[in-house]
Symmetry: C2
Subunit: 194 residues, 2 copies
Amino acid sequence: MTLKEKIIHETLRQFSTKGFLSTSITDILEAVGTSKGGFYNHFESKEALFFHVMDKARSIWRDRNLAGLDQIEDPVDKIKQLLNNFYKRYLKDSENFPGGCVFITLMVELIDQRPHLANDINKGWVGFKGFIQRHLEAGKATGKLRSDVNPEAVTEILFTGILGASVNYSVEKSDDSLEKTVNSLIDYLENLKP
Amino acid sequence: MTLKEKIIHETLRQFSTKGFLSTSITDILEAVGTSKGGFYNHFESKEALFFHVMDKARSIWRDRNLAGLDQIEDPVDKIKQLLNNFYKRYLKDSENFPGGCVFITLMVELIDQRPHLANDINKGWVGFKGFIQRHLEAGKATGKLRSDVNPEAVTEILFTGILGASVNYSVEKSDDSLEKTVNSLIDYLENLKP
DNA sequence: CAAACCAGACCGACCGGTCTGTCTTCATGT
DNA sequence: ACATGAAGACAGACCGGTCGGTCTGGTTTG
């Protein structure tokens, strides 16, 4: 790993526990064993680092959550697989996210203090929400969901359920509780099938 | 309002948008028009202020969310009423919580940085979760819920749903989206009746 | 030898907290 | 009724420490 990659990796870890504002550049430099000179040679500011870290975080998110989805045809089962990936592969990744989902930590902190940074996270959330809703609508159209199902309402339940489960996991750090919650969401989705 | 009350009120507002660490005492003093001397005459430290603010926040929480519950007998309908209170009376209270639910903002920030402060919030969360679960169990015992309902799993869905809805409301500040989400949860609960 | 890489002293701004001093309040003694 | 003094309430200068960022200079690399 190059120094630049090391800085991004370590920053991602610290962002997930302390957020953006409370993570000091000095802390990062000590953790990776370099100095201000080494840092500002690769990043022009703390905010520039933020965007690099977000790129890496998004990359990890896709890698973990979308694993195996392309081999599933049923759009509803795709969402089911995503829910499973979410708690089995993604949220438990304490190597990259020791403090839980970094997007939650950063969003809650930045939404009212650094809106232009929060917007960068929100784009991903809007895309994710749309991803769920499109698949549910496709599922309904192809008869994989009951005709009385409201895809938008189900999307709200699943999306906020995932948000809440992430917050709860940051707090409790309990794999059991996380598994129960997500399995409850999966059962909920399962019961919407014809 | 005394100066002490003014400080607590203003701090609650700022905590809900900026959290504990990013809210500076100087900012609070400017907002209420006093000085360091006026502050440290009433509070011995920033952390002491935190606990006073939490007491006030909990008081507001109970006032808003438990309104009218004592006039309802059916334990399931009590939870239904609580969900309605939550989004109609509590979360929209931008006078006290301009940045959304203060407990969420503080918990996400403090859980890994000030665990002893986060514990104070977590007590309330544990109590709230237990409150929901006890009422669902009572509802099941008295035949107000289907016999195949798992109260613990439903509690997880409702609790994390509320957490997620709070986070989402902080981000979107959309009353419509909040209403849809909570109504989805209410529908979900309604469908568990016999 | 030029360019990239990195170490570390340094800067102004801001943080929570302390301390001194001023002004008001009010119980007390006469 | 009035003087008095202790205590509470508040203003604001000040302190050590930390923040993000700059700058100089030495070292490595192509």
